[in-house]
Amino acid sequence: MNKGQFLTTLRSSLGGLPKTQLDEVIADYEEYFRDGLASGRSEEEISKGLGDPAKIAKELLAEMHINAWQSKKSVANLGRVLLALTALGSLNLFLAIPMLVMMSLLTASYAASVGVLLVGVMAGASYLPGFNALVQFDHGDGQTMHIVKEKDGRKVEITQDGKHGMNIHVEGPDGTKDIHTPDDEDEDGDVTGGFHVDLKDLTGLSLSQARGATALGGIGGGALWLLVNLLVTRLLIRGFVKYARLNYSILRGE
């Protein structure tokens, strides 16, 4: 391999690098060839001594990406470090898999914590005026009607849709009461008829107390959970960067 072939391979293997950085690397190796030629070696001898340009490019990329990550800790830069180390073959598959499992568990945990937070926020928001009465009509195919009225910790909810008839749901400080209209159907499709009434005392809390507890628990718990997630993420990323550096330093000097 002569100087031209070496530099061409190096240049093409360094694809994606900003031009100024690419030019700097090429200038480095041009200087090396100049000094080598001046000391009486041939281009072939020098490029043989330098080794495989594709492998050199991978090491340079890994070093540059790690540096970019250290100066700007963005997900994109971390991704580049990951890719560069994978290209070097220095990311151990057995350690990469638990890493991926951790990442997906963490993602699920994020989603759940945001869910809890949202429930809390919604429960809290129901205290605000405008949320106490919800009336929803749908006169389209679904034939649904949904009316909610709330006052002084009591709530009346009337729902009707094409399938289940009408349901009246009453909540008060002492529990809840459900009244179904008679058009429930049994397995054979016959109308079973008659009212049935469910009386439940579920919480022992008044509605507003229960809602308050949900709001506080949801917002507090959700925020705390989210915070724990962020901390775990930070630890994971730190650990990963350490591990990536270790991988790379093992590779150095080969």
């Binding site: 090396y32 100049r34 330098l50 050199i56």
Partner: protein, 105 residues
């Protein structure tokens, strides 16, 4: 010299070469190549790493061979790091020599 030992010591050797005089890449490699069987092409990734860790800095200086050369200079923290590495190396070699030397004692 085995590959594992070589990897760990190469960085220290480069810093040691730069301890008394600044150098350019070809010069550093020539000084190392006699004793350390290294792939010359890795000098630049290695120098870049040392630069990233702020152990060396670079500057351009005129040369007889056309365009200016890139010189590497040890920084203060590079000197500290080298001193630390040397101490660790001597401890390590001392321990190993003790074990290897058991035959003679």
């Amino acid at each position: 010299m085995s590959a594992q030992l070589k990897k760990g010591t190469l960085e220290m050797c480069v810093l040691a070469v730069l301890e008394h005089a600044d150098g350019y890449a070809y010069d550093i490699v020539s000084k190392l190549a006699h004793g350390v069987d290294m792939s010359e092409g890795t000098i630049y990734p290695l120098m870049r790493r040392l630069q990233n860790d702020a152990l060396v800095t670079t500057y351009l200086a005129e040369s007889e061979q056309g365009p200016p050369r890139k010189y590497y200079r040890l920084t203060a923290s590079g000197r500290n790091e080298l001193a630390k590495m040397k101490a660790e190396w001597r401890d390590f070699v001392g321990e190993v020599n003790k074990i290897l030397g058991e035959d003679h004692e």
